[in-house]
Amino acid sequence: MLFGQAAHKPAANFKESGSPTAPITLELYTDYQCPSCRAFYLEVLPQVISQYVATGKVRLVHRDYPLPQHQYSRIATKYANAAGQVGLYDVVANQLFKTQQEWEQNGNVDGEVAKVVPPGGMQKIRDLVKNDAHLDDSVVADQAMASRDGLNQTPTLVVVQNGKRQTISGMVQFNILKQYLDQILAKG
């Protein structure tokens, strides 16, 4: 599982996974505090990864879209991206979604992340969250891209094939997504 297994080898860009020559790129916009994003991440994404990303059919790009109405989404995003810089993006992103219902109550993102990151790595993450002025640069870039994609909710998938971008908003069930992906892969 891309964002969930420690054994996964981080890509050069930690938010990307899969073959660069895959015929389809899926760009997934999520907010760590959004319940539907959690459901998509934990229920749908593992199947997408095992059946499409691992088989070279799809390249996956994670994009951040923290919604302003979610109080702790920004800080959760910072922790995930800081973890990415120390090679632990998958572990931390997975933990944030898994424990969303805990930290959204009290904002204790740090405490939930610390449960799955070794102390040395945790200290590096905390330093980055506190001191790295460029930590949000990728978020700003993702939000600019979201604006160009006409995003209005999370989760949103952007299916990119032959340079054409098609935006799919809302919680997509795997069975329907599979039908769609299989069709456009067959058409080429």
Partner: protein, 146 residues
């Protein structure tokens, strides 16, 4: 005079109803079928196997119905079908609202406002229009053709 006014009223209603269906079909067809299938899935009414066929068929049906209403050919029957469809849509929205489902109507493509009293009022207004056109078309046997 009364008959003349009825014909004018029918013509206006006919054009408005046709525009609604043509736009609803067009708005869905300009997006991938998957987007409308996602909207349909939020109603939790249909099995997964029915989502793709319905997401592909319904927009074309709406477009065809809109064109039929606009042309005035078999207006009584096309307006009746429109009324039945809108009654069904309205019932589904009422059910979803009563159940507290967070649905994405998808009626006019993606990115619509959440389901609430305003959205239900819009749907009710469209149903009232369709019923009025249907009744007027049945009363005025020489249906208006554009």
């Amino acid at each position: 005079m009364k008959r003349h006014l009825l014909r004018i009223g029918l013509l206006i209603g006919q054009v408005a109803l046709a525009a609604i269906f043509i736009y609803a079909g067009y708005a869905k067809l300009r997006e991938p079928w998957l987007q409308f299938a996602v909207s349909l899935s939020t109603f939790k009414l249909l099995p997964d196997s029915a989502l793709e066929p319905l997401a592909r068929f319904l927009p074309w049906a709406e477009l065809a119905l809109g064109i039929a209403i606009l042309s005035g050919i078999l207006l009584r029957w096309s307006a009746l079908i429109a009324s039945l469809l809108l009654t069904l849509f309205f019932a589904v929205l009422i059910r979803s609202y009563a159940m507290g489902l967070q649905v994405d109507c998808g009626c006019f493509g993606s990115g619509e406002s959440a389901l609430g009293p305003l959205r239900l009022a819009e749907e009710a207004a469209m149903l009232a229009l369709a019923l009025a056109v249907t009744i007027a078309a049945f009363r005025n046997r020489s249906a208006v053709r554009i």
